[in-house]
């Protein structure tokens, strides 16, 4: 379950504190941010969007840290060579 996509807050609704406009790859939608009422949500922040609601404030620091850890993986040459020998398609025979 749970198709949810990161989107950037572009504006908060002046009339409704629970509503904000987010943008995902130049597509905009008005979403409900009540679940993040405890966060100081501002335009420019990135949130996770699911069924028209913001579910979580995305942490840039945590994302960067994750990517840093990922960049350190797989420095074992042996394993890389083995991977390169893979065919591009899977023969997934029942």
């Amino acid at each position: 379950m749970c198709l949810a996509i990161p989107g950037q807050i572009v504006e908060r609704s002046p009339d409704h504190p629970d509503l904000a406009t987010v943008e995902v790859s130049r597509v905009r939608r008005v979403i409900n941010v009540a679940l993040l009422a405890d966060e100081p949500l501002q335009p420019g922040d990135w949130v996770l969007i699911h069924v028209g609601f913001a579910m979580s404030l995305i942490s840039e620091d945590a994302a960067r840290e994750q990517l840093r850890l990922l960049a350190m993986l797989g420095e074992d040459e042996e394993a890389m060579r083995e991977l390169d020998g893979l065919p591009a398609t899977s023969a997934d025979t029942p």
């Binding site: 379950m1 198709l3 597509v27 905009r28 028209g52 591009a88 398609t89």
Partner: protein
């Protein structure tokens, strides 16, 4: 290449017995019209056998010898809601859709008949708008509307307006097109970004409440096909316009007809940012989304680069791309290969793609 029409009459007369028809559903459903597998089942399992249609007739246009001439005929119907949307309207779709069926069959479009089924109560201004749209699109595509018919049905039917067309064109001697000419190693080219039309319609319906600067890509592709013909006709094996069901459907049909595997390089697929965003938000795959102003061509490897350069040089072809190749491996079907080397099967959908939340 020309179909022998008269023997088809004989086949239709000796109609099939109901029990031997492969289509077993008790009712026709929406899915049967979506252009995917269910449509295939309806056509293959009921319509084609009862009409005595030869296998080759199940393409975009029928090619017929009339004396010395080879003429292409095509028919199509247009049902869209809403009737008007960013980038066009049903009238424009009707003209361009018909013209494009002819163009991808390698025929210069000449004219079309337009049949209207109008819902009683439709505002005259709407009908007027569509007639102007048809006229403008026909002029733009350099084709003549040579006749047609009009019917009015009760309020509650026809969603405002349905349009059916019959188009004809002259087979262009530069092109020799058939799926039988496709070979392993051939390249697959798409004329421009995919998914614009289908996502525009989805947004225009208002159900998903997304806002994006997107327009339908509806246009005649004949000028581009024409240019391609000048540059690389000898290398073009097969063309199709990926309307309902998208690229995935037409390439699956090709894979079925040839037995080859069509491998799409995902990173090469041209997709506008907005289409990508809408697809990610809604859980849709651009490969399955309808296009109304694009075509897919299979081109020999020697001519592929020349073909691509020609497309890039023409207005409206700047984003054309080589998106894949034909392979002779045992699996068949269509694969999408990721930038990191893994591959997934791209199947035809059963019905229209639906947004998901899971």
């Amino acid at each position: 290449m020309g179909a022998d029409l008269l023997s088809g009459v004989g086949r239709a007369v000796t109609a099939q017995r109901r029990e031997t028809l492969r289509f077993r559903d008790a009712h026709v459903e929406m899915a049967h019209g979506a252009g995917g597998k269910a449509t295939r089942q309806l056509v293959d399992g009921l319509i084609a056998p009862l009409l005595g249609l030869p296998r080759e007739a199940l393409v975009d246009a029928a090619i017929v010898h009339l004396g010395q001439e080879m003429v292409a005929f095509t028919g199509d119907s247009f049902v869209v809601r809403p009737l008007a949307f960013p980038g066009g309207s049903i009238g424009e779709l009707a003209v361009n859709g018909t013209v494009n069926d002819l163009a991808v069959s390698g025929a210069r479009p000449l004219g079309l008949l337009v049949t209207l089924i109008v819902e009683a109560g439709l505002a005259t201004s709407v009908l007027e708008g569509e007639m102007r749209a048809i006229g403008a699109a026909a002029a733009c595509a350099a084709v003549a509307v040579v006749g047609g018919d009009t019917k009015v049905v009760e309020h509650g039917k026809a969603d405002g307006l349905y349009i059916t067309t019959a188009g004809f064109g002259r087979v262009d001697p530069r092109f020799t097109l058939s799926s039988r000419l496709v070979q392993a190693g051939d390249r697959v080219i798409v004329s421009g970004p995919v998914g614009d039309h289908g996502i525009t319609i989805l947004l225009a319906r208002g159900d998903v409440d997304l806002d994006a600067d997107l327009r339908s890509d509806t246009r005649s592709v004949w000028p581009i096909v024409d240019t391609l013909g000048d540059a690389a006709a000898a290398g073009i094996r097969w063309m199709r316009d990926p309307t309902r069901g998208g690229i995935a459907t037409v390439l699956n049909e090709l894979a079925r007809e040839t037995g080859f595997t069509i491998a799409i390089d995902e990173a090469s697929l041209p997709v506008r940012e907005e289409v990508r965003g809408a697809c990610e938000l809604l859980g849709l795959d651009p490969l399955h989304i309808a296009n109304e102003g694009q075509f897919v061509a299979v081109v020999s490897p020697d001519e592929a680069d020349r073909a691509l350069d020609a497309l890039h040089g023409i207005s409206g072809g700047e984003l054309a791309a080589i998106i894949g190749e034909v392979r002779n491996d045992s699996g068949g079907g269509v694969l999408a290969v990721s930038p990191y080397g893994s591959a997934r099967v791209v199947d035809m959908l059963v019905g229209d793609p639906l947004p998901r939340i899971c």
